[in-house]
Symmetry: D3
Subunit: 318 residues, 6 copies
């Protein structure tokens, strides 16, 4: 059966489908009876829903953040569509298609991963190659890596975004191979592959994009160093200085203290990585923001993080 | 005759050569007689010099910032070498080799200009191509362009540095051609060629690198817009929007108000240009700074603008 | 016929008049039929409006930002007044009185312009006098100059505000004539006249106050330099240094990089202009903000740009 | 007898005069004997001095910061003039002319004070007039007020500078009387008179310009409030709100927290006072800085507080 | 009679009780008749109320910020409960229990004050002891001191909060007595007692927590110095330096200009006081913020002043 | 034999002792011959030294940063004492007493460590106790821990300073045990012990205090997390959440991004640790700075990091 998306629900429709419970509460009605108030969502929007009969029994079946399967009728209340729910059950995991709830990369994750591995194969330094392959060929890791978003909100905030961004940074590094003298290309490339590696654990992306506990308390920069430490310990003879320089790349890639890096870039590779990561994140962040503009509008809204409007023009150039 | 450079002058040497007058004053000696106190310089260093006899007559022959030809004897005074000048005359222009006084690019300016023109030829938009050629094929401009430094101090601060940096930014743009969708490559490329064009007038580089009056009071960003305005006015039918976007590239290329840009980048091209300019300036600035380190030192001094030390290591990687 | 202003519309009123279309959309009603949803405005407020019958035909007659003449009935919906529109036609230009839609200066623009010209006549330096008169006696310019606001929001944000502010800065300069030694009064005065001259093109003020494309991408500071450049090119023998100092006044009048000036004031005149412009803008901005306070309130709301409340007191002193 | 100023001392001169002891120490010579090392100063400069014989006895006669009368011979040591002191005695107070040691205003203090009082007489509000006269007619206060500098270094840093600056701010206020509606002119004027009043105690100016203990620990802004509190307590019926507004003027006149004001200006008078104080301080600070430039130099040195160079040009305009 | 709190009002309830008038206006209804629109509040929430009959007569009986006794019926309007008021009279002062309207400390104020006095008795320096007792034993002061909140919003924002915070800072000082050498414990302790003393006048706390006029225009830091000045003037022989150091403690206790301190801490005692005040305010501010979290939530909302989320976890540790 | 300290060397003294080579170069003399120029140092100061004969042979025996044993004669050159070296050999490790070269804590390291362990024994949580004991009972670690300074310059910059500071923070935590409800005391205490643990590797302190490579490229905050990670991995069953909270304490203890913490404190324990660490570092930093003041001086010099002077007064209170 075809899914009915939130944005397509009309007055009087009968709805039978799976939704994500974004908010759940049990207020007392004006007459003193408790009822169940939900905010349900999928990828296309959010909708209010109410259970008037049997509220307490249904309420025990699920918690906020669960996926539920409902039968309901769409009614109109104060000029807005609302769902009047008849029955609820918790959705079976097999019934939930994550893509119905979160935006996804337009590219195939397996293909992107294959490209990344192919570039990684070009690394000559055996320690660095072994290090990145310990990640890229570890299925437990790649399952998450193919799914994680690049950021909660600012850029690549869709399923597969982390991989898409990582691949892009690595491709930029490849394009500049040999351009500046004195760069250790292997090191820079490995840094490109691993710079955001801990975002697979920093962000949660089962229902919506948010931070995990460790994501907030430790942060992906330090979590990345821990992950790299663990793998390096498995590689016999990994040179101490190389390990230090590798970790420096991760630690300094945000470029400044104010942006959460505990050290500033102190090597050419670290400086390069910072610039290329920043370039890719910013350009994509702006493009995603521009894409939200309605047809015919020449300027985006004001972007609060970037502190400016962006010019879309007639759509020819941007 | 071989030039005697400042760094090679030894006690008792007879010196006969051309020097730049960095400082000039006429103090009264302890006994009440005026004498001429000079600080002379060439590319390799600076040296104190004195005229005890006939000071006033010699003093009238030149001013600070002139090049003078002197005959002198090197003496030792308080553990430092000093020149005791016997005669002075103002140097004929033909006698002054600018390369003796200022560091120069290691690359041939004519060759770099040719490369830049070749890339510029690839621009398809006829207005933009005509605009950049109005600069690159104007000999009055290119004479200065081939000589100007990229900055007073921070990066590419040598004769030919502006051209070297411009070419490098343009090459980076070429390398990323087609990488991001939605970029107007012609516009970005023309922006790369012209972004620092007014540095030929912002900086003075006849003796040392410093700002001109207009360089300080107007600044290269706005001077560049004025130069572009003037050329655009000569090109029939140059589209208004294109002119505006072109100038926006120049105005926003420093990326932030605090760095002297009166507008922030509001188009994808402007954002790209800012990143690539910044990347090239920073990487070269760091490399020039690293090169000043003595053999065997593992760290540079503290860099006050960048607010950090840089790691040179064993010299293998950086 | 007397205009019915938005703030005076009552339930059941029949409305026949010209309004500005602030928002326009064509949603689908709960039953699936498209209808026309408008937000109409004049100087006194905004009001929701709906077209239920013939929505699609009417929708083709105008776009957002147009002025339209409507016939409608006022109804009450959820405790708010809404217009139920029967017919729409695009308003003829002659039917639109801009003063009905935008706040205006309380002073007569022609009178203010005459005062400004009279002061300008007192400039002794022939080049500077010729320069400012090239603006003040150019009707194409003055038509806009008499109408433009001083800023989008912060101060003098009403029709004629730019002229009112310019005149005020110039009067302050006149009041301080001769007060500080070493000031070139002619230069400062000309700078006062021209400092915000490009706001006639930076802002749009046909319907509401907003930025133009060039206003955002280039900004009034640099646009002003371009306008001055163009006029100076027409004046034979205009001294180079004077032109440079004149442009420096425009470029530095915001006083700091963070406030959008690409150079800081480096001459006494530039420093003076910055202070007097700032004084006039701030004092008027605060007064306009204080005037919004209801009778009997002793403090204004929190002003986010100024980061403070203002004390109005009993109304005796402020 | 004519004073010999430091700048005029030549080798072999016999010096007999009063100097200020800027530094005093008693090191051990290379051979192990203690000697007295002094740094002496007057308004024209500083000079090293030594006592080789009887150092210990002389050392007991005075401390650092005293004025001493010496007899000495000028000798040359390592290309610098040094005083070889034969005898020292502490200078009698009558022998010390403060003007020999500190720069002074070019205007007559009594005359400036008279002008200030004359303007103050124009205040109509009896409480405010009484308040300022409590200062201006109190001789204990005016003795200091006529002598105090305007600031340690940044502007009006000469004897009489505080009065000169205060008068200037008050004159600016007078010039703008009635210019903006809604300003309580009496309040603003009184604020102008008193805004820096505590600088008479914040700074010490007996020998050089520095801060007093209270100047650092309390600061002139709060000390001023304390002084005003004390006088207001003597004036029967002084209105509470007026006192509060008066003190607000003092507290907020630096305009921002970062500049040491514990509150931001929240009334029109406070905003005006801040701007006019800032204008007068900055313009004079720049002029004093420009005056240090040698004849023929077109730019000042870099000003660290203002973060820029200033353009002096040919001396015609600045 | 038991009070009916706002949060407990249900549809159709008859309400008879005292409420605080948070907002009051007299709009014209859709049909043109004026009616009275109120927003009433107590400690548990706010509620809309309307008077349709006799609006004008009732309106004259009270103003915004008054307490009123009403008789009304609860109705439901657009899914919200609203009061339909039948009669209003101004509440007698005796009828108003402040605790019904503002949150209160969980500790008994008299007990806290007694503890504070007991600690204060331990001060050995007779001047300092006399100074603090002039406050703590002055009933006019302590009546307010026992009631005032610690801050408008950020920490200890409840009745009695100022006393609770003051006692806590003083207890911290006691705990560290003798820990660091070179601290004048008596001075630090007296500083702890008096550091926020003027908050009794800076904030108003009769109905809600807000700033008084003087609180905004002068601020508690300077008001505190004025209060201390006044008491010191009553104490014969109070040493000048001690008074200065005491006031320095008050002035610098915010630690930085940006946080409203006109001087930075320049003594060890001032530095200590700043840290301990900050510690107590921050820890309590965070705890109060954590307490607002619903059961089962592992993170607080984003705290805008602290710029972060706080981790509550399973409730075991925080 | 008694050591001759640098500060005691007099003209003509014969010196035979061990010194640290702070600088070493081989310039060419005025006559063209190479000589050896050294800057030697011990804890009391620095002194210039020269080798004129056999310079090249001696130069091969040691490098900068070595300890050397010299025989030399003290001569006077330009009013300064200089060493004329006759012979050099590299010092045997046994000949070098580190205390002669670096300042040391006044407390006995073993005693301090014993105190720290005693407090640590009081931790009830078995995992946390095991964790800190893994450090405090590991001799390889404690050898360094007893010697490391607390910081390069700002506070506790002496041998044993790290231990002294750590113990002090832990004692502060003990003093506040139970003071605030809801604090996990065990966690906070363990955080106090480990917060700066990686400073044993961040700083080098064999000759002077400086950063190690890893100290700069990784930093003690992240190095500390790595050290803790490694020990936790050895402890069976260490709870995941506890490990995360422990590491959060280390990461956030600088309190702000700008001070190098990659996360801000998000738990009460983290907030407490930040305050107590800051308090101890600041108070000690100020005391160390005050101690440098000469007898009789009432103010310290300007402290550039703290941006203020400190008041020492008559020495009674500070």
């Amino acid at each position: 059966m075809e899914r009915t998306f939130v944005k397509d629900i009309r007055e009087n429709d009968q709805v039978d489908g799976v939704f994500w419970v974004k908010e759940k509460s049990m207020p007392v009605s004006r007459t003193g009876a408790p009822y169940l108030r939900l905010r349900l969502a999928d990828r296309t929007g959010e909708i209010e829903a109410r259970v008037w009969d049997g509220a307490e029994a249904f309420a025990d079946l699920f918690t906020r953040d669960d996926f539920i399967r409902i039968k309901a009728q769409a009614t109109s209340y104060q000029d807005k569509i609302q769902l009047n729910i008849k029955s609820i059950k918790k959705a079976a995991e097999a019934d939930v298609r994550l893509e119905d709830f979160l935006a996804s990369s337009t590219r195939d994750p397996d293909e992107m991963l294959a490209e990344l591995i192919a570039i990684g194969q070009g690394i000559e330094n055996p320690f660095l190659k072994q290090l990145i392959m310990a990640f890229l060929e570890n299925e437990e890791f790649t399952v998450r890596f193919k799914r994680a978003p690049g950021a909660k909100r600012l850029h690549h905030s869709f399923l597969g975004g982390l991989l898409e961004h990582t691949l892009s940074v690595v491709q930029l590094i490849e394009k500049l191979k040999g351009y500046y003298e004195g760069i250790n290309h292997d090191l820079l490339l490995a840094g490109g592959v691993l710079h955001d590696v801990a975002k697979v654990y920093e962000l949660s992306y089962e229902r919506s994009f948010d931070y995990t506990d460790a994501g907030r308390l430790i942060g992906h920069i330090v979590m990345g160093v821990e992950m790299v430490d663990k793998e390096i310990a498995q590689i016999e003879g990994f040179p101490t200085e190389l390990a230090m320089l590798m970790k420096h790349l991760l630690l300094s890639h945000h470029g400044q203290y104010e942006w959460g890096s505990p050290t500033r870039p102190m090597t050419l590779e670290a400086q390069m990585l910072h610039h290329l990561d920043d370039l890719d994140a910013k350009v994509n962040g702006i493009k995603e923001f521009m894409n939200k503009v309605e047809q015919g509008t020449r300027w985006t809204d004001y972007h609060r993080m970037f502190e400016r409007f962006f010019y879309v023009g007639e759509g020819e150039e941007g």
